[in-house]
Amino acid sequence: MPLIKEGVLAEDSWQALADEDELVEGPIVVTLDRWQSEREALLSRNTPIGVRLKSDQTPALLADDLDRFAVVALEFPKFNDGRAYSYARLLRDRYAFKGEVRAVGNVLRDQFLLMQRCGFDAFEVANEAAAAAWEKAISEISVTYQPGADARRPALALRRNRPAA
């Protein structure tokens, strides 16, 4: 799957493992189940580790372990299952998670801006055309009305900083 990071196609150094897959060398992303059942073994490998959460698995389940992960991948089984938007906000705002928050599953260009605003910074997409659309997708709406997990300043803050007329 092509991966978009910082707006461009990027090499994906992570391998996502299904529960039945053998462990492999190098950085791996495991499911929540596997993390919970093989936690000690996974930690003892001393290689970077990531976790992949299904859309009914809140990062609150991992709150005490988040500093163990370099990547949290949040699944969109369908583009219109919006739970992961809140999960991303929680990861960034509540748990101050500094690693990569990756959108996986049905990830479409028309949602890039929303995802970025909620704190996603990596996007697994179906094809490379989506990457070509990145710049437009995140810049075609420049005004934001509400604080998010991104660096954009909402209209309220900009209005208040405006010199008095």
Binding site: Y85, Y87, R89, L114, M115, R117, C118, I141, Y145, A157
Partner: protein, 551 residues
């Protein structure tokens, strides 16, 4: 009224460009209808039985004369010369062409209008009291907070793909004209013991196939915490609301399955983390928005206006209109005028382009160029000098908008029904037309008094039948249209869900049934009793007796 600044203008214009691009991708075949669907829905464009339908937002139901003229232009230029005002205080155009919708949105953007979030599983247009700013029983103008909510909820990145659509209503008055207890969130402005103004927050109300009256989640929410509290509710709902069944996805189902106590704990826990965040509303921001809604410069007038009394004496038709369509204003010498969009035998809520233009002109002459759309599908001019009422009425009469039936039996709510909507089981509008023809004698309607009939063409309840004094629900029985009748519903501060009276009536029989119900009410009512009072006192039995004994 609120006026856009450069941020609002930029956003709406960018949204038009974005949608134009999406439509081009659809027309070129790059997007399939399946891929295009969620994108067009985010811009209020539905595909209905016969054509596309474009729903344009009228935030909290307030329009300027300039905006109304633009709606008239859109109706003429892109549609069949009319528009349909909805129970969400919006307007729908039923015949736009897909390739022209970006142009429609560009035209609307010129007058600070858009179709953002008029459909889809997101936070919809916030609705309010149509008498806001004019009502005597008002604590504060609720539209200030509607506008604050409008901005916060517009393209909210976290809440664009909720389990289901989400509707918020705000009222600032004791008498609830905004039906806040049947909304996903209802905000009732109130004072705490210290005299500070804030909100009672009600959650989990709704109509649809499972009607539920909302419950109070917080007795008093200080104003500056409005957005953080809303965000906490939405965040809990977004994560826990059901997504496996379309009909169980609204927040009312979550609140009911969690229980209000447990749901409140979840929300308050979430809120405790974000209460002091950037979501806190600075008081100067509230004041800035309040400025836009400051009352018009009223003249100092006597409340008793001699020429009005003379005209009422001389002209019975005018007197009849004043009696039903004119309400008390907080300012002496002023009145609130309701313009009925329910003339006998016409589809409720429809207005032609020339009627829209005429209303825009009359509002400019007599009501500070401001018009309200009501959730009962009428229009309101909120600040009319009593001395101008006769001139206003004459102008309305010239364009067939002076029907003196506001609040009466023929002032019905009806959804578009099977004539337009692909969800409907039965027609709504023709039933409303037949009822209004049956009761076309206005003297008779006056004798019956205030009565709310609400008609939905299917269980999704867009016509709010659950909260009608008399509610009609279209059902399909072996391919034939039938109507289930409920009695005793109410959407005001005494919210009640109507009770099913018995087996459904056929399309041919339903008007007789309504007449039987009205006759039974008249037979049983005591002096001064409204329908709900009588119904509470006598119950279903006498109505059942009348309806089913003879049949």
């Amino acid at each position: 009224m609120y006026r856009y600044d450069e941020f609002d203008h930029t956003l709406v214009n960018e949204r038009v460009h974005q949608f134009r691009d999406q439509v081009e991708r659809r027309l070129s075949g790059e997007l399939t209808e399946d891929q295009f669907k969620p994108l067009r829905l985010m811009n209020g464009l539905y595909l209905q039985l016969h054509a596309y339908m474009l729903r344009v937002a009228v935030p909290y139901g307030t329009l300027s004369s300039t905006q109304m003229r633009k709606l008239a232009y859109v109706a003429r230029r892109y549609d069949k010369g009319y528009g349909h005002f909805t129970t969400r205080q919006n307007i729908q155009f039923n015949w736009p062409k897909l390739e022209e919708t970006p142009d429609i949105l560009a035209d609307l953007a010129e007058v600070e209008m858009h179709a953002i979030q008029t459909s889809g599983n997101c936070i919809r247009n916030t609705t309010s009291d149509q008498f806001a700013g004019a009502a005597a029983d008002e604590i504060e103008d609720p539209r200030v907070y509607c506008e604050i909510i409008r901005q916060w909820s517009t393209l909210h990145p976290e809440f664009t793909f909720l389990p289901r659509k989400f509707k918020i209503a705000v009222t600032g008055a004791d008498h609830d004209r905004a039906a806040v207890r049947v909304h996903d969130i209802g905000l009732q402005m109130c004072r705490n013991e210290a005299g500070e103004v804030g909100f009672e927050v009600v959650v989990g109300g709704g109509l649809g196939r499972t009607p539920v009256i909302g419950q109070t989640i917080r007795e008093f929410l200080p104003k500056q915490h409005l957005l953080s509290y809303l965000e906490a509710i939405l965040r809990v709902y977004n994560q826990l609301g059901r997504r496996d069944n379309l009909y169980k996805a609204r927040i009312k189902i979550l609140v009911r399955s969690e229980g209000i106590e447990s749901f409140r704990n979840l929300v308050e826990e979430e809120w405790s983390h974000i209460k002091e965040s950037a979501l806190q509303l600075p008081l100067d921001e509230i004041a800035r928005i309040e400025n836009y809604f400051s009352p018009p410069r009223y003249e100092r007038l006597d409340d008793t206006v001699r020429e009005l009394e003379v005209k009422r004496f001389e002209d019975r038709d005018f007197a009849s209109w004043v009696r039903t369509n004119v309400s008390t204003h907080k300012q002496p010498g002023y009145a609130v005028a309701t313009i009925s969009l329910k003339p006998t035998g016409k589809p409720p809520g429809d207005a032609s382009a020339w009627q829209m233009d005429a209303v825009a002109d009359l509002a400019e002459s007599y009501s500070h160029s401001e018009i309200r759309v009501t959730h009962e599908q009428n229009l309101v001019l909120a600040h009319v000098k009593k001395a101008d009422l006769y001139a206003l009425w004459s102008g309305l009469r010239d364009v067939e908008l002076a029907t003196p039936n506001a609040g009466l039996l023929s002032d019905m709510i009806a959804c578009p029904g099977l004539d337009y909507c692909n969800l409907a089981n039965a027609r709504s509008i023709p039933v409303a037309q037949r009822i209004s023809e049956r009761f076309s004698d206005l003297e008779r309607q006056h004798d019956i008094g205030g009565l709310k009939i609400k008609i939905s063409g299917c269980i999704n309840a867009c016509g709010h039948h659950h909260v009608g004094h008399i509610g009609l629900l279209g059902v399909d029985k072996k391919g034939e249209e039938f109507y289930q009748i409920t009695l005793g519903g109410s959407a005001d501060e005494n919210t009640a869900i109507g009770k099913i009276v018995g087996p459904a009536f056929s399309y041919d029989d339903v008007v007789d049934a309504v007449e039987d119900i009205v006759d039974t009410y008249l037979e049983y009512r005591s002096d001064g009793e409204e329908f709900s009072d009588t119904f509470r006192r006598v119950g279903l039995a006498p109505f059942k007796e009348k309806l089913y004994a003879a049949h």
